[in-house]
């Protein structure tokens, strides 16, 4: 079976083509763009909510995109167990849509951060990380101004208990100190999944770490893990 990815295009998305290119041209999957005004997900097996600045980041990041017609279909798809990956602005949209818990605040230092970061894999039993070594630190770039993940104590407790924290910002050696945290995110959280395990939100951009020409391939591990674990 050839897995079909659907990349949603909101007004202001700017990593939609990166995701399309990496998934189709580099990794060889089927990919369709899904326009935000459409409601048909075109039989996609996996939905990608890409990075960017949907609706200009007005009001709060992701707040307006969450009410796009396509999001009703994405929410139904996710509730029925469909696989959804929200990257950066896509993660913010998932939070606003209530598909993942918590909120995203402005980076603690108020600066837009654009650099490669190291990530620890906190849970290797998810469909997005199965097969990854806990020893390995992923190198994936971040590029955001609002990546300071915040959740109240009860939510954090649930995230820990249910092993929903998937990635944390770390040093090269896997230490998760404040100095390894690019945005002030609580507990160095870089990516989480929902309790059911089919919706992943992450601030780093795996689609920018998929091409050997660029010297980084760790993002591909996430997409390939999902495909290998679920669809093959």
């Amino acid at each position: 079976m050839k897995v079909k990815f659907g990349v949603v295009v909101f007004p202001g998305s700017n990593c939609d083509h990166d995701a399309y290119y990496s998934l189709k041209k580099v990794l060889g999957y089927d990919v369709n763009f899904l326009w935000h005004k459409d409601t048909d997900l075109q039989n996609s097996d996996v939905i990608i909510l890409p990075g960017g600045f949907s609706y200009g980041d007005y009001l709060r990041t992701g707040a307006i995109a969450r009410f796009s017609p396509v999001m009703n279909s994405v929410i139904s798809f996710a509730v029925q167990g469909g696989y959804v990956i929200g990257i950066c602005n896509g993660f913010q949209i998932l939070l606003e849509a209530g598909l993942l818990p918590g909120v995203m605040l402005k980076n603690k230092a108020l600066q837009f951060v654009c650099k490669d970061v190291y990530l620890t894999v906190e849970n290797k039993d998810t469909v997005f990380t199965k097969g990854m070594s806990l020893e390995k630190k992923l190198i994936i770039p971040v590029a955001h101004g609002d990546g300071n993940y915040f959740a109240n104590e009860e939510t954090l407790k649930n995230l820990i208990e249910n092993k929903q924290i998937v990635f944390k910002y770390s040093s090269k050696n896997g230490e998760r100190k404040e100095s390894d945290n690019p945005n002030g995110s609580v507990m160095n959280i870089a990516g989480i999944i929902n309790k059911e395990g089919n919706v992943l939100g992450m601030m780093p951009h795996p689609e920018r770490s998929c091409n050997p020409v660029l010297g980084k391939m760790d993002g591909a591990l996430i997409f390939n893990s999902l495909v290998n674990n679920i669809f093959n």
Binding site: L59, R60, A63, I64, F67, E96, G102, V103, L105, K106, N107, K108, A109, L110, N148, F150, A151, N152, G184
Partner: protein, 82 residues
Amino acid sequence: MYKAKVLIKRRPSILDPQGKAVEKGAQHLGLKNISQTRIDKYIEFLVDSDEEKAAQEEVRLYCSKLLANPIMEDFEFELEKV
């Protein structure tokens, strides 16, 4: 017709890095007595309704579903007949 005036404030427990940064500007300006600067949102719009209660309901829905994120923000509003 009513004019709605909405104030959306982040909960005190939520960090406001923007307020902190602006406060640094106050210090550079030489203002010594300024503290706890918080930057929140004030929003105005019209509600085409003659029923105050119905208008209130619509504003409350707009605030709780879209204008404010109930996880980190509280809102209050007033209606003015125009």
